[in-house]
Amino acid sequence: MVDIPVEHFSYIALFVFFAGLYGFFTRKNMIAMLMSIELILNAVNIQFVAFNYYLYPDLMEGMIFSLFIIGVAAAEAAVAIAIIINVYRRFKTINVEKVNSMKY
């Protein structure tokens, strides 16, 4: 066992989560917002793994769940980047405030 209390992992994960939240609120560039989402997902993964390790060491549900989250994050990033590139092609910008119509 690593003798670090489980709370410390929680604090790191929380900090990363709210840093990502701050980034999501303040960025205007779509790719930067996507990066913030990745940070948030990463924070959740840390939390899952830490709880798995400390509270349920004889199971591996947290780890498997983290694996699935990583998979979903990859799928989400691929689709998001496809959308972003399409938006860039149409509007010549990826600033969320200048992209204001869904009609083409």
Partner: protein, 158 residues
């Protein structure tokens, strides 16, 4: 050490004004996370983190940055009022949740940690019943297929 790296790089990711630098800081934050998984003895998860996140997603992000913006473009800043509001929301949320966590009494279980080698993971992913994850495994394979088709259809030239 790893914790400090994660904290510093995640803050830099959301505050730097050069988007390519933000991508690289994100890469370092993800690498440090892989380090945490290694520290907790989840080698397979660390490897997946490195290949999928650090290898795949960061490369995708860097490519799309290069496709959509000039390297030296600085990101537009949100108005300072909104930035302060977002910072306050983040801080309040952090403090509230941290207080809740500090008050909760987690009791670490001292059971022998399960061996999480690739064989055990593979068996768990492929078995059904107790501790089997065949259903989410199949669902995520469908999801990945759908994401692949969707990405191609969306990004296709008309």
């Amino acid at each position: 050490m790893l914790a400090a790296a994660i904290v510093v790089f995640s803050v830099l990711t959301v505050t730097t004004r050069l988007i390519l630098r933000a991508a690289i800081y994100l890469l370092f934050a993800l690498l440090a996370t892989a380090g945490i998984y290694l520290m907790l003895n989840y080698q397979f998860l660390a490897a997946v983190q490195l290949t999928v996140y650090a290898g795949g997603i960061i490369i995708l992000i860097v490519f799309s940055v290069l496709l959509t913006s000039h390297i030296n473009d600085r990101l537009e800043l949100e108005s300072s009022g909104r930035r302060i509001a977002a910072g306050v929301v983040g801080l309040v949320g952090f403090v509230l949740t941290a207080v809740t966590i500090a008050r909760t009494n987690f009791t670490p279980v001292n059971a022998a940690p399960i061996e999480t080698d690739t064989k055990a993971i593979g068996t768990a992913l492929m078995s059904y019943g107790e501790n089997g994850y065949i259903l989410p495994f199949e669902v995520i394979s469908i999801l990945l297929l759908a994401a692949m088709i969707g990405a191609i259809v969306i990004a296709k030239k008309r």
